[in-house]
Each structure stands twice: as C-alpha cells, then as structure tokens.
Symmetry: C2
C-alpha cells in the first residue's frame, strides 16, 4: 500500500507542480491567476478521467465526487488549498488535495464505491498571497465568507478581486454562499511546516488542535539622546527597555513550556543610528497556545511585565493587540479514531498541535474535522526548499486512505 | 563683566546666526557653501572693523589677530568651527568663534594689546555634514590633513570637494599644509551637548578629557523559523540573543559607572516581520570612556560576553570593530590653571569630560589645549531646539576672557 502510494505520488506530484512553476524558484499560484486556473482545470480533467464526478462551486473550489451507495447525502470531505504563496513549495496546500484524490482512487479500485459520499476538494484559496483576504475557499463552504468583504479589494498590481474572478469564469455571489449542510467530516493532510516530527523521527502527526494567536505591536517612547554626552543614569533608552522585555518574556515562555511559543519578530528603533540613544522603539509580539485561557493568562502577564519594566525605566508604552484568534480544537471523536487507527496499523505517529493556521480551523467549528501532518525537512515551508521525504509523503497518503476508508467506505 | 558679555551676545549672535538660517528650521551652513562663505566674509569684516587683523589660510580657516607687544611669535588661539550640521542649532561651533572675538574685543578695550599674540579662529569645518571628512579645519592647522584624502570626495549632490572649495575662492593645497609652529595654546568654548551641567545647575564645565570611542557592527546569524510551528527549544533566535547581549552589557556598563557610556543605537533584524523568528540580526555598539585602557578592557569583556552568549545559543557572531579612537586628555597645566581661575573667581564650575568629539582633540596632541563647556538646555544639540540660557552663555564668555587674559595679556 505504501509502495502503491509512493509510485502514485511520483506519477502525479511533478505533473501537478508544473502548473505555476516559477522561473524564480518554487511555485507561484495565486488565486484566480492563469496558473491557478490551469491547475484547477488540469486537476478537474484528471479526476474526471479517473472516474470522479467533478464540479466547481461558485467561487472556484473544485470537487471530485464518489457518490455513496448507502448514504449518498452524507459527505466525507478531504483536501486542502490549491493556491500557493509567491515562490512557495509544492506541498503546502496542493499535496492535501492530490493525496485525497490518490486515496479515493485507491479506495475505489480496492473496495468499489463508498457507502457515504466522498469528495475530494481543491480549495480555491487559503494563503492570502494575492489579495488581502485569507481562507476564501473554505469560508465559502461553511458560510463564513461575505462577498462584500472582497468586492472592493485589489492585488498589488491594482487588479480587483471580482475582475480576477471574472477572468477565470467565476462571478462573485451577490450574497454569502450558505453553509453546506451535507458535510459529516473534513480530513486535511498537510505538511507540518515545523520540525517536531523530523526531530522525533516520526512520519505521522495527528493534530489535536490548531493554536490560537495573539499579535501585538508595542511602541516604547523614551528620549533620543547623544550617545556620547548622556551618562547612563540620564538615559531613557527604549532599546534597552525592549531588551529587558524580550529577555524576561522569553525566559517566562521557556519556563511555561510547550505548546506556548513567543516571538519578537520585528524591532524598529528610532532613529536607528549608531551614536544616538534610541528614543522610540516599535516591536511586535506573536504568542500562540492551543489553550485559550492559557494564552490569555500568559499574555496578560506579559502585558503587566512590560508595564512594570517601562514604569521602572520611565518609558512610555503603548500596547496594541491587533490579532486575537482563539485556538481551534480538532474533533475529539475523529482524533481518537485516527489515533486508534495509527495504533492498530502500528504507524509511528505523534499526537501534536498545529502552530500554523490551516483550512481545518475554518471547518472545525461546524464540521467534525481532523488533520494529519507529515514531516517537513528542516521545518522549511513557504520556500522553494520545502520538501518531505517521498516515503513520508506515501505514509501520509496511506494514513489518510485508511481514515477515509473508515469514514466513507465502512458503516 | 557678565552683563557686558550678555549685551554683546545679544548684539551679535542673532546677526551671525542669520547666515545659513534654514527655512526648514535652525542653521544649515555646510563647508564651502554660499552660506558658509557669506558667514566667514561677514565675520571677517566685523572682526576687521573691531581692530583685528584678519586673514584666511589656504583652506578657509578665518583668523582675527591681535599681535602681541612682547611675544609676537607666541600665539594663543581660541575659537571653534563655523560650519553646522543640516538644520543644526546656532551654538554648536560658531558660538566658540564668536565668543573668542567678544572676549578679545573686551580684553583689548580693557587692557590694550596682548603681550602674546592672540588669534580668534573660525575653523572651516568640523561636522563632516557635507563631505565624508571631519575636522578639515583643525587638521589643516596642525599638519594632519592630507589633500589627497579629499580631492576625490563629493557631496550628496555629486559636487566635488575641490570644485566647492574653488567656488569659494580657495585652492586645494598640492601637499599637506605644515603644522603651525607658533601656537602656544588652544582654548575652545563649546556647549556641552549633554545635560550634566544643567542637571547639576552649573554654568561652567572645565573639560579634562575627550572620550575615546569604539564602535562596532555585530552580525548574529541563527535560523529564520516559522513563529508558530517552531517550539521554543528548537529556535536559534537572533533577536533573543541580541536582547541578552544588550541587557547584560548595559548592566555591566551601569556597574562600571561614569565616565563609561554604552549605546546599542541600531538594531536590524531579518526578515523583521511579526511571524518569523529572526534568523539574522545586525546591531551596533558605541562605547566611550576617557581612559584608553579602561575602554579597551571593557569592550574586550563585552566581546567575550557576546561570544559566550552566542556559543550557548548556537548562534554565529561576527564582530566588526570599525572605529577605535583613543581618548584625548586636555593639557594638565591648562586644566589646573582654568580650575584655579574658576576657584578664584568663585565660578560655579564642574570638572568633567566631553562625551562628544571636538576640534580640541585635534589640537591637543601637539598644542597645549583646554575646553570650557556651557550647559545645553535638555542636552539638545544638532537640532533647531539647541539652546543655552543667555546668562550661561555670558558666563562662558567671561570665563574664556579671564583665561585668555591670563594666557595672552599677562606674563
């Protein structure tokens, strides 16, 4: 079975990756671009040829369907997004859609048609790389997309969302597309985009939750001073204040332990020159946790710590919390089922959380949802160097197929 | 005497400041600009009218001379630079030249001609604000300027140094101008550009040394990682490493105490975005001290600390020491003489070092040199808001006059 999928991946992944191959490296397949349309049409044709009924929905999500013989109105859905970031890799997104098709094809060959309806989905968009909107594909399936949110947005070249959509033969719905009522489960296979699986030499991750995120922009205001003529005791140095905040907070994050992560990704001192004590420093905080209360409590502590440090140093502080996304747990029943399956099949798996966002988090609040991770070599993604060993990819598709078999091909 | 100088300053400072007044604020008087030439010519005319023999040297340093009746070949020199930074204040530089002239005029009125020759000097350039060269004025007086160093440099508009010089009527010497052999002392009056005098409510600073400076650019190389999918223990976070270095080093600088100062003025993480652990961070260090050995020992300790922290965190470090200027002590005899004078006259003075560079440091190695500081309101300089209370300016000129009286008007 693993050998079958290894061969199937080698036969199809290079072909699918040829659509949107970027001369500058990797894959660039932005929503409603020519490359995007070519990909969806080619994938549609190939799925049709393999015996699936294919269709687009109003916004360009592509489906490949095997109608259930016993429960035709109960749909098990699997796939991921077909779009990529600029110069992205050839796994993030598209491999989840490809894998759902490979799994379904094998299941159909092996067991005939499913009892429940099974659908592959190649979601139109997740990355937000062309237009300032994310999860356009999945949000339209679960009734969370409002056309008015995109009708006036444009890409970096000034091309409107609706214009790009029309060029691909789709029309922006005049009102929100209602949520599908027939979905009984959504299963997403995706690369980890981290190196936890790799470091632990495990090919399979069973995702139990997608982290919540809080993002802040902090502005410290002290006093710009001459680096030579201002004795240390006269200074209100905002880079020093930032450093104290960063050190204390990361020490606290380390003490708290997984799954909490804390990142000070951006630091912009002013005037940012060698011989001036920086009078102003802007920096960002990105904090994630799978537990909403823990995330809230930890960041509240950080906020209090920052206030205290700045008070001590006579530095003004402005704290702007501009992103506050709650963690999304995966469906407990599906996670248990997947875990039991891994145990039974003797798969080398790890129960873990996702530190990145995925389409699964859009489905999970209303559709029983689970995710399967495969390792990322060196944890790299969103990069032409994104890669996973072929054996691990095959193991991922196999696990997906076994799970889909239980969900759609058995009672 | 103080009242006399207060009036004299009010009568002349606004006039001198009118040359190069910038519509955008403050004073912009760059070397060999029209404004620069106008200033020097106006000051020359005014000094001539007051009875001083005036002349330019080859590079545009302006002198006003009172020939000594007893020791005509021994010259006591006082002044400062006439150029300014872009949108600078009206004290940094020019006030030292103006003050030397006001002091000389009063001394001549009061005591007649000096025993030793006295010269006011309005140095052509100190700031390096137009061309990438500093101390052009003073270096040409003490034989330290090499014409070949400037002959091919240009300003931001592409105008060559020699071209600008020619436009003002000066010609680049074909070989270094030899050092003047007749100088017996140089005395420079300048604003502090810090707030030590202000904070201590003292109008006069007697400078005993100009700090040495070491400037570094440090590059830390870790690993850029996804802020969500990379557990804390997997990170090689260069902003965290920078913060540890900054905190430890500043704590050490505070423990070391004055006159050491340490500044982390510039921090440039990469990619500098909220959701990526910064894989690379460049930052600067500016460290100053009046004692060469202490400066060297302290920065050597910093270097070792940085190496240790980076080793612990598995982060690469490149340490580039690109400025290493030795401290310059003022002449011990002149400092004692000036201190004794302040004591005798019951002036409220402070013995202190200069944290900024000044023309005095160019003279000091070969000419007995001392400096007198006046307070800067809020420590501000290089800014249109640069200001000193008129009473403090007058006190500064009075102190200068008393010192020059001892040096040139008495045996």
């Amino acid at each position: 079975m693993t050998n079958h999928f290894r061969q199937a991946i080698e036969d199809t992944l290079p072909w699918l990756s040829s659509f949107g191959a970027d001369p500058a490296g990797g894959l660039t397949r932005l929503l409603y671009s020519d490359e995007w349309l070519e990909t969806q049409l080619a994938f549609k044709k190939r799925m049709s040829e393999s015996g699936l009924e294919t269709r687009f929905d109003d916004v360009g999500n592509l489906y490949g369907r095997l109608t259930g013989t016993r429960y035709p109105d109960e749909v098990i859905l699997s796939g991921s997004h077909i779009d990529s970031v600029v110069n992205g890799g050839n796994l993030d997104g598209q491999f989840g859609a490809l894998a759902a098709w490979l799994a379904a094809s094998w299941l159909k060959e092996t067991y005939g048609p499913p009892l429940r309806t099974f659908e592959v989905v190649a979601l139109a968009e997740e990355e937000g790389s062309r237009f300032p909107y994310v999860f356009w594909g999945s949000k339209n399936i679960v009734g969370l997309a409002n056309p008015s949110d995109v009708q006036n947005i444009t890409d970096a070249k000034g091309i409107g969302f609706t214009e790009a959509m029309n060029a691909c033969g789709f029309t922006l719905p005049s009102s929100p597309v209602p949520a599908r009522k027939d979905l009984r489960a959504f299963v997403e296979l995706h690369i980890e985009q981290g190196r936890v699986l790799e470091a632990n030499k495990q090919p399979i991750g069973v995702v139990n939750a997608i982290v919540g995120q809080r993002r802040y922009t902090i502005t410290l205001t002290g006093e710009a001073n001459h680096a030579g003529t201002t004795p240390m005791s006269y200074r209100r140095d905002t880079v020093h204040a930032f450093s104290r905040i960063c050190c204390e907070s990361i020490a606290k994050a380390n003490a708290h332990g997984d799954p909490l992560v804390l990142t000070f990704g951006k630091v912009d001192p002013q005037p940012n020159t060698v011989n001036v004590v920086p009078g102003k420093t802007l920096f960002t905080i990105d904090c994630r946790h799978t537990d909403a209360d823990a995330l809230k409590a930890f960041t509240a502590e950080l906020e209090a710590d920052m206030q205290r440090i700045c008070h001590e140093m006579e530095i003004g502080i402005d704290i702007d919390l501009w992103m506050d996304e709650a963690p999304v747990p995966m469906d407990v029943g599906l996670v248990q089922q997947l875990t039991a399956l891994c145990e039974k099949e003797n798969l080398n798996y790890r129960l873990m959380h996702s530190g990145a966002g995925h389409d699964a988090q859009i489905f999970a609040p209303t559709v029983p949802t689970c995710m399967i991770f495969m390792p990322s070599i060196n944890g790299i993604s969103h990069n032409p160097l994104e890669e996973t060993l072929i054996g691990d990819l095959a193991e991922g598709v196999k696990t997906l197929a076994l799970m889909l078999h239980q969900l759609a091909w058995t009672e």
